[in-house]
Amino acid sequence: MEYLKAFIIGGLICVIGQILMDATKLTPAHILVIFVTSGVILTAIGIYEPLIDFAQAGASVPLTGFGYALCNGAFEGVKKSGLIGAFTGGLEATAGGIAGAIIFGYIMSIVSNPKTKD
């Protein structure tokens, strides 16, 4: 059941991105920025948390979930250490993914070369 929920909610979030891209000519970079920022805002106003509880990975894997982790991290940081926490909390919560992307990206660039599209 949780797999089905993840599939449907995750799929729907991607569909929103697809409609935005097809209808407005926004570039993928714009879409990613919009999604992560909306994730932060939706979490801050309390809308995204219930979605995470309902769909788990379906809400945390799309980039809005990255925004959720950033916002949640910042809130926890504030609870723990006040103003400093607002600065450190978001990055702390998402450090794994960012660090992973950097190191895997670097390794991939060493071991493989881009190929022409066909």
Binding site: M21, K25, P28, P114, K115, T116, K117, D118
Partner: protein, 339 residues
């Protein structure tokens, strides 16, 4: 005192120079297209043993010039001028090609209009009595253009239906003061026309007004009508741009639909090869001209062709700054008779 100008934008060449040879080299994808029989060489691998796409593009130009020289039985030292250009920043493909060839060199930038631009300048230089042999060449490479203008190759984006596919290939022509044709008889140089299009995925619509302007002025200046031509072929307008050009020319009073085609449409089987609105790039009109058009002229199945190479004169920076895309189109009449 100008002796050879007619009308507002056209030159009538008094002693029409002859295109004595051409050469075309294309990448693997272009080599699977409907024009494959016409190309002199088809690469199996689009890096061609080079370290970078840029180096490969430079080699494409160099080998195309050498091949055209061989076809004309000339050597590098016979060439008085090399006119060449490409799409990359600071036209590195052309300059690095010219570095390998010892020829006096004029580097051109006209985006995808470079083939007609170089033929125009080459033909006028010869008719003016400044040269006996000139080489005109241009190139583009899908992967070098993609990384400069769009996204990294491995980025998982979707290409809109109006977008075009940059040709990997180079076309070269040797133009001579003597020879039996085909001849360059008229040169109509385009003005920069900006129709206000900002969508970089719709280059055809950005360039179409320039093509319309140049074609209609060509007819006004020369007194020709569409019936005088066997083929009117634009550079890389694609399906969208060709459609618009046809429409707008009708409004100007010229119905060219009987003889009108576009290099970007001719070069691919678009459904099967998934190239959306058509081919594009400097190499597009270059290889279609040097391959298909030239060989059909030699066979005599075409006798008089108007080649209009179309270019979009924007850069990634102008696009990011929200500027619209200016278009340009240059036309040359290539005919089996000197008339």
């Amino acid at each position: 005192m100008t002796l050879k100008r007619i009308g507002t934008q056209t030159v009538k060449l008094e002693n029409p120079p002859s295109i004595i040879s051409t050469a075309s080299i294309v990448g693997p994808k272009e080599g699977e297209g409907p024009l494959k029989e016409y190309f002199d060489m088809i690469l199996e691998d689009d890096l061609w043993g080079q370290e970078s796409w840029e180096k490969c593009e430079s080699k494409l130009q160099e080998e195309a010039v050498k091949m055209a020289l061989t076809n004309a039985e000339l050597t590098e030292s016979d060439i008085n001028y090399l006119f060449s250009g490409d799409l990359l920043n600071q036209i590195i493909s052309s300059s690095y090609c010219a570095r390998q060839l010892s020829m006096p060199y004029f580097g051109l930038y006209g985006a995808c209009s470079t083939m007609a631009q170089s033929l125009s300048l080459g033909a006028m230089t010869i008719d003016g009595g400044f040269a006996d042999y000139v080489a005109c060449v241009t190139s583009s490479h899908f992967s070098s253009a993609e990384r400069q203008f769009r996204y990294p190759l491995e980025f998982g984006n979707q290409r809109p239906f109006s977008s075009q596919w940059t040709i990997t290939g180079s076309g070269a022509a040797i133009v001579s003061s003597t020879g039996n044709g085909p001849f360059v008889t008229y040169v109509t140089t385009g003005k920069v026309i900006d129709a206000g299009i900002k969508d970089v995925n719709n280059m055809g619509a950005a360039m179409a007004p320039a093509a319309v302007d140049t074609i209609s002025n060509h007819f006004k200046d020369t007194g020709y009508t569409p019936d005088d031509y066997d083929l009117i072929i634009t550079g890389d307008l694609g399906f969208v741009g060709k459609d618009i050009t046809s429409d707008l020319l009708k409004q100007e009073g010229y119905d060219i639909s009987e003889v009108f085609n576009d290099s970007g449409i001719k070069i691919f089987a678009h459904k099967e090869q998934d190239t959306h609105a058509g081919g594009s790039g400097c190499g597009c009109s270059a290889v279609v001209f040097a391959g298909y058009v030239y060989k059909e002229l030699l066979k005599g199945s075409l006798n008089k062709v108007l080649l209009i190479s179309t270019g979009a004169l924007h850069s990634p920076i102008s696009t990011q700054q929200g500027e619209s895309i200016p278009g340009i189109a240059h036309a040359v009449t290539i005919s089996n008779s000197k008339e």
